[in-house]
């Protein structure tokens, strides 16, 4: 294995292009680990503690004293709303609470996938401390997907809707 930085950059580009999260090579006493973009919040809200994913490092294993500085890989993806595929963004929860799609149990949802909404349109309610907080669209967009089930708890920063900006 021939680890040089240009090669690793090329690898990183390839990982990014192909959405590869982790790469690990071990050969003899050498070992290469690459992980990228921890950006996605834990999918299961309020579930078990999220496992740690340390920033990736490149290192020679089993070499006690070495001048090889660990190359740190770019930090986690930025927070809300983060773009993944071009044009797509996420609406995230501004606080901890309970997610409601409709103003009342018997009312229709504020929005449905496919709806085109304008900035300021109410998308959902997040209830916290007995207060019903309406969450509004910050920009004109198309609702692509509703990511949380009605009545479920949500964390700060958790993705609620996948949308396409218009």
């Amino acid at each position: 294995m021939n680890i040089d930085l240009e090669r690793i950059e090329a690898l990183l580009r390839a990982m990014s292009e192909h959405d590869v999260r982790e790469l690990e090579i071990e050969q003899g006493d050498q070992r290469l680990v690459l992980r990228r973009g921890v950006g996605a919040p834990v999918p299961a809200p309020l579930a078990v503690a999220a496992p740690a994913v340390a920033p990736a490092t490149v290192l020679p294993a089993a070499v006690p004293v070495s001048t090889t500085a660990p190359a740190t890989i770019p930090p986690p993806a930025p927070a809300s709303p983060a773009s993944e595929t071009p044009g797509e963004q996420y609406v995230t929860s501004p606080f901890v609470g309970t997610f409601y799609r409709a103003p009342r149990p018997d009312a229709p949802p504020f929005v449905q996938p496919g709806d085109e909404v304008r900035a300021g349109t109410t998308l959902c309610i997040v209830e916290a401390m007995k207060l019903m907080n309406e969450i509004e669209a910050e920009f004109d967009c198309t609702i692509l997907e509703v990511l949380v089930e009605n009545g479920k708890p949500v964390e700060f920063g958790q993705r609620l809707f996948r949308v396409r900006r218009r």
Binding site: A54, A79, P153, F156, G157, Q158
Partner: protein
Amino acid sequence: MALFRKVLVANRGEIAVRVIRACRELGIATVAVHSEADAEALHVRLADQAVCIGPPPARDSYLHVPALIAAAEVSGADAIHPGYGFLSENAEFAEICARCGLVFIGPSPENMRQWGDKVSARALAARLGMPLMDGTGVLRDVDEAVERASALGFPVMLKASGGGGGRGMKVVRSAEEMRRLYPQARAEAEAAFKNGDLYCERYVEQPRHIEFQILGDGRGRAWVLGERECSIQRRHQKLVEEAPSVAVTEEMRRDLGATLVRAMRESGYTSAGTVELLMDERGRLAFMEMNTRIQVEHPVTEIVTDVDLVEQQIRIAAGLPVELPEDGFVPMRGHAIECRINAEDPETFVPWPGLITEYVPPGGPGIRVDGGIYGGFRVPGAYDSLLFKLIAYGVDRAQAIRRLDRALAETIVGGIRTNVALHRRIVADPDFRAGRLSTRFLERLGVTGARG
């Protein structure tokens, strides 16, 4: 009454881990809360569930009351432990918890208010018979100042009635100096506090910081669990704490202990608390303040008394009986010393957050580690620099020191700077070994740090 089903820990770092451990041992489920900067923190990994409550700044997360209450609501917690710092001594937060049907694991809001204000705390302490620093009332003029200060004995501290927190204070070492400084201090006090009243207190050149651990059940019973010595401080930041103190005799312990047990029973104190005192060169103690929370240095008391203080806090909050001696005195046995291992430059004290590339904590006989980190964790820069507490137990102080030194020598933290080297200097110092301590200890060691 029964224990809680689920406790939300409204804190981070080692104290959050400590509370999670106590809950686990009691069979209580735990909810960790964390800011975005702490998503990978140890308390998040160890808790049964975790809720992200906001962005990195503490005011938007760990100090953000609505987020904490909402997190308790959505996770179904029935009690909140605040740890230390953050909202732990905030009476309003304790009241909001109560209003929202959540048990606050700590002192009552009344306890916090009584002891939180320095002026009323001093008055309460006096009423409850605690020793106070010798001093005068407000002085009429410079002549009375000279006369009363001479009676107290120089040096004295000339203080502004309107001051506080160290402001408006002058050390006066003789009658002549008093005649020169009194008018000056009066003018400064009038300008600063719109109140020229001055008074004197005896000034202690080389004080020791001594504190007594208290437990109260809020229903008329209270206990004193011996003292700790926390004299090794840098700008009021404690670095090394131990129990017992070599400067406290069994007689002093009994006498003050009796006063404290009575005081805490009379004032209806609930949960864990600490009475901080100043000791002069002749061994006289004077009340400084009372802290209405669990303290960083609580493990040294736990080790020498065999009492789990966090467990007792939880039991008391749940209304369960405290099974400690009827007379209020919990005996100590052996000796324990704690070092606070911080992420900071050992010379300049500049904080040193960053990725911990390697962490090999010490272990073996007599060593307890209370930590909030692991190898691979990135220490955020947004919070205090405490990484872990290294606590050594010995049958006597000499053995505790030997073990502490050995454990410091084997500690490995890679990737960031720590104050382990400073602790090794402290532990090797002949004054430290002889127990000749004061709050000036680090100054004498030549340790000041670069920061103002």
